[in-house]
């Protein structure tokens, strides 16, 4: 029997048959194998699938992951043929329970044999007298691995039948089912879900299903599309914008071009490789495109495109009157836009020019100036450019104030641009070091914030100390939050020794700030008021416990009053390994504070995401009632907190979602970004949600642009939680 690779089948799941972690690796699992014999008869064989050593992912400290086939129902597994065959043999996909590796094995047969190990049910029968040789694992396109994780070549394995076996090998092509028996026998330690994963899953009842998807749609063709900006017009219609190099997927809508159009063919795709040597294609012809959707996301009403290759979209925001303010950075065909939008106000950048000249002279090279940026206003009917301002030699960011004044940042310089007229006035020059958040403008009045960290060089923990500073619109400091130092927080009397930092700040019209902080522990100054260390902040919320983590990196969400810096709520959101009751990580990719104080988050969770019982896809807590092998989940997710960050209104996987950001209006929440056709996390292949969709099918490429409209105040629609059936 020739084997190119070993094929490992492990029972997985919930009431798993394996102990993992902490080095206690079982040597076998009970199975019943069903196959179609060469005479056409269906045969069954009970026995033990025995391993010398599991093909595992070795994690830190010698803990083992488990590779497994995810059982579909009732412990039975259907062999899936995926991908391409290799030299005629079928290919099987296995994932370990942490999802960090996907192993593709080419197998020919499941060996059936015997070995005298004294195991119950073992009989020496036909088959191998000696274990097959150790075979190398043939990894195909290995996924990125966790730090410290390595893959080992699998050891030998065989099916040891309880009775004499008529065969010594079962061709894999003939396999129909492998039934993993739930009973644990000698030598096994039954593993079950326990600890905080179960506790929080039980407690996370959600909000009676009131947070409901209204519509979800792809938009895209063969390429990789993505919406980088989105929002609501005052009349409720929706806009979404991004860079597109091909709009042939559009049906029934012809784009309207602003500026003088160019030929996309003049800017052909550029083929190259990334640093890993993988092929990469860039599209210089890409142009900013703005899509306008109906209020319910059911139709594309308008498409506005800028000339091909004219610029890189930087921002789109909507004004009080429905006008759109658009910012972009110069590209090859910039003049086809900048030279055809009427009168353009130019804001020079003498500082940059002087520096560039100095550099050119010092290096005896040609003068090189950075690209310009353009900010313009698209009239409320989206047909005309009302005004345009050209900022020379730098990119810009801007915030629209409630008054429709735009606060524009170009490096350290601030400019005020009046929305209706385009009048430009210079603002303060703001210098601030080591700010992770950058300058965040309060849309109420134009005051601004910087959040970040500094290093307390006093030899005392914490080393990384967070700060958040507020300045008035003219650049005068107003208050400083946190900004303690090691000598004050790290000594005997407070011992708030965890390194912490403010990574991001959101300011909105409500007068609340939403901070995203980071810390490496629970003894963080974030657990106190930012102005008085004696006063605790309200820290809590579902899935916020961090004890038991060995290496910790935790995101904090903090809600704060923008005027008084009073913190109204602090939370952390973690996942939990369901079998070892240890915190697992979550990375927050996007977050948004609605005007009513609710906070939406999107991120990627490691295995063990806490889903509310009313999540949009049956969570583990519901599935488990009828399927003892139901698995916990991870991957992309969406969650919504009530004001104060203590109550989780919904937490749900968001299958296929890649990059997502938010916009909100009243009770509506818009998730915009991009998505793959299905989930690809921890064995879960749930298709991406489409609902009342403009485009329900995935268009191709690696991702399509994606929109999801959510009603956060729907009528109650509580989940149907079945009685436990086993």
């Amino acid at each position: 029997m020739k084997f190119q690779n070993c094929f490992y089948v492990l029972a997985c799941g919930l009431f798993g048959l394996f102990s993992c972690a902490f080095g206690d690796v079982p040597a076998w699992v009970g199975v019943e194998v069903t196959w179609e014999a060469s005479d056409g008869e269906t045969r069954r064989l009970s026995g033990q699938l025995e391993f010398d050593r599991l093909p595992v992912t070795r994690l830190e400290r010698g803990n083992f992951g488990i590779t497994n086939l995810v059982p579909l129902e009732n412990g039975e597994i259907q062999i899936r043929h995926t991908g391409e065959t290799h030299e005629g043999a079928p290919v099987f996909v296995l994932q370990d329970y942490q999802g960090t590796h996907r192993f593709l094995w080419n197998v020919e047969a499941l060996p059936v044999g015997a070995r005298d190990t004294g195991m119950r049910g073992l009989e020496v029968g036909e088959g191998f007298d000696t274990p097959p040789p150790v075979l190398d694992l043939d990894l195909e396109e290995p996924e990125p691995v966790d730090e410290g994780a390595t893959s080992e070549a699998p050891a030998s394995f065989r099916l040891v039948p309880a009775a004499d076996s008529p065969v010594n090998a079962i061709p894999v092509a003939a396999l129909r089912y492998i039934h993993f028996q739930a009973l644990a026998d000698d030598g096994f330690r039954r593993q079950s879900y326990t600890g905080r994963y179960v506790q929080y899953s039980r407690a996370a009842t959600g909000d009676q299903g009131r947070v409901q998807p209204v519509a979800a749609t792809f938009l895209g063709g063969e390429g990789d599309e993505h919406f980088s900006h989105g929002g609501f017009f005052p009349d409720g219609r929706i806009y979404a914008a991004g860079m597109f190099h091909d709009l042939s997927f559009l049906a029934n809508v012809s784009p309207r071009v602003i500026g003088r159009d160019t030929n996309a063919s003049d800017y052909p795709p550029v083929h190259g490789t990334d640093r890993r040597g993988r092929e990469q294609i860039s599209y210089p012809a890409s142009a900013p495109v703005i899509f306008v959707f109906s209020e319910d996301l059911s139709a594309v009403e308008e498409v506005i495109r800028l000339p091909w290759a004219s610029g890189q979209l930087a921002d789109v925001q909507v004004g009080n009157d429905g006008a759109l303010y658009v910012a972009l950075r110069e590209r090859q065909a910039f003049e086809s836009l900048a030279g055809h939008v009427g009168e353009v106000t130019v804001v020079e950048n003498p500082g940059h020019v002087a520096q560039a000249r100095q550099r050119a002279e010092a290096r005896a090279e040609e003068l090189r100036l950075a690209e310009d940026a353009l900010l313009f206003r698209l009239s409320p009917n989206l047909r005309n450019v009302d005004w345009a301002v050209r900022f020379q030699h730098a990119g810009i960011g801007f915030t629209r104030l409630q008054s429709d004044r735009l606060v524009v940042q170009r490096g350290r310089d601030v400019y005020f641009v009046e929305g209706p007229t385009g009048d430009v006035r210079q603002g303060p020059n703001v210098e601030h070091g080591r700010s992770h958040s950058g300058m965040v403008v309060d849309p109420r009045d134009g005051s601004f914030y910087f959040g970040g960290e500094y290093h307390s060089g006093t030899g005392l923990e914490p080393w990384r100390c967070p700060f958040l500073r507020k300045f008035d619109p003219e650049g005068h400091p107003v208050w400083s939050a946190y900004d303690w130092t090691g000598p004050i927080v790290g000594v005997q009397f407070f011992r708030l020794v965890s390194d912490s930092a403010v990574n991001d700040v959101i300011a909105d019209n409500s007068g609340r700030l939403l901070l995203r902080g980071w810390s490496d522990g629970g003894n963080s100054v974030f657990t106190r008021q930012p102005y008085d260390l004696r006063k605790p902040a309200r820290v809590g919320g579902t899935a916020s416990s961090i004890w038991g983590a060995s290496v910790l990196s935790v995101s904090y969400l903090i809600q704060m009053d923008a005027d008084s810096m009073e913190v109204s709520g602090v939370t952390r959101f973690l996942s939990y390994l369901p079998t070892s009751n240890t915190p697992n990580s979550i990375s927050l990719r996007a977050y948004h504070q609605m005007e009513n104080g609710q906070v939406a988050i999107f991120g990627h969770s490691a295995f063990g995401l806490i889903e509310t019982q009313d999540s949009w896809f049956d969570p583990w807590y519901v599935q488990y009632r009828t399927n003892r092998h139901a698995l916990a989940r991870g991957g992309p997710f969406f969650a919504l907190y009530a004001e104060g960050l203590q109550t989780l209104r919904i937490s749900t996987i968001l299958p296929g979602a890649r990059a997502i950001d938010f916009a909100a209006k009243d009770d509506k929440l818009l998730l915009f970004g991009s998505a793959e056709p299905q989930n690809n996390s921890y064995g879960d292949e749930t298709p991406a949600m489409t609902l009342n969709a403009v485009q329900s099918e995935f268009g191709g490429g690696r991702q399509d642009a994606y929109l999801l409209l959510v009603n956060t105040a729907g009528d109650p629609n509580p989940p149907q939680i079945p009685e436990r059936s086993w």
């Binding site: 006093t458 208050w479 900004d483 004696r534």
Partner: protein, 234 residues
């Protein structure tokens, strides 16, 4: 005969004294010592928090010991049964670090002192202690902790200016190791230290500091302090 009568008359006093001594022995053992505060090895053993009614936000400061030696030689008054802490000496604490509350100089007590704190000779000095009472005895991580309440007099200095203060003090003596933690609450006038406006009024201070390890008291000549009869010359 006269001696016998004297003995009989003195006996109740002696019994009373013995009882008091038994109660105070733990305190005496724990609190006795000579503490050279300049020997504190930790860089920031001292925390100061200032609150002011006219201002919304407090201010936080840290620092070290600026010298001074304090001796505790507690003993029991055999006639009254009271414990006398017999604290002699005093010490100073120097503020060296402030928080970095940019823009809030006028919004926190002592806000202007955040600039160049180290150069301002910002000190809190405890000159004398009195009015001692024994508080609670609590179990701590390293044995029992004995609380002694007292009053103190001293001053606050900044930029060459002084403001007197009287403090309520709480000493926490470790029973097993010769050191103490001191917490003090006092008030002083901001105006006396050059503050004006809303910062000029009374400032409430909460102070905490740690002592270095103390040294044993030198023995008194000829007498065993635990001998109730020693002072009587028996």
């Amino acid at each position: 005969m006269k001696i016998k009568i004297f003995f009989l008359l003195a006996l109740p006093c002696l019994v009373h004294a013995q009882d008091a001594l038994n109660q105070h022995q733990r305190v005496i053992t724990a609190a006795s010592g000579v503490y050279d505060m300049s020997k504190e090895p930790r860089r920031y053993p001292f925390l100061l928090i200032l609150d002011q009614e006219a201002l919304k936000y407090p201010s936080f400061w840290a620092g070290g010991h600026a010298g001074g030696e304090i001796t505790f030689s507690p003993e029991t008054d055999l006639l009254t049964g009271d414990l006398e802490l017999n604290a002699e000496g005093g010490f100073s604490l120097q503020v060296t670090n402030s928080t970095r509350k940019h823009g809030m100089e006028a919004q926190i007590p002592g806000g202007p002192w955040m600039q160049n704190t180290r150069d301002r000779n910002f000190r809190v000095t405890f000159d004398s202690f009195s009015d001692y009472t024994v508080g609670e005895v609590r179990r701590g991580n390293d044995g029992n902790v004995i609380e002694i309440l007292a009053k103190a007099k001293g001053k606050v200095e900044v930029d060459g200016k002084e403001a007197p203060m009287e403090a309520k003090v709480r000493f926490l003596f470790q029973e097993r190791t010769p050191n103490f933690t001191m917490h003090a609450n006092f008030e002083f006038e901001g105006a006396l230290l050059g503050l004006d406006g809303k910062q000029a009024g009374p400032i409430k201070a909460t102070l905490s500091t740690l002592s270095p390890l103390g040294e044993m008291l030198p023995p008194k000549a000829g007498n065993d302090p635990s001998d109730p009869f020693g002072d009587l010359g028996f």
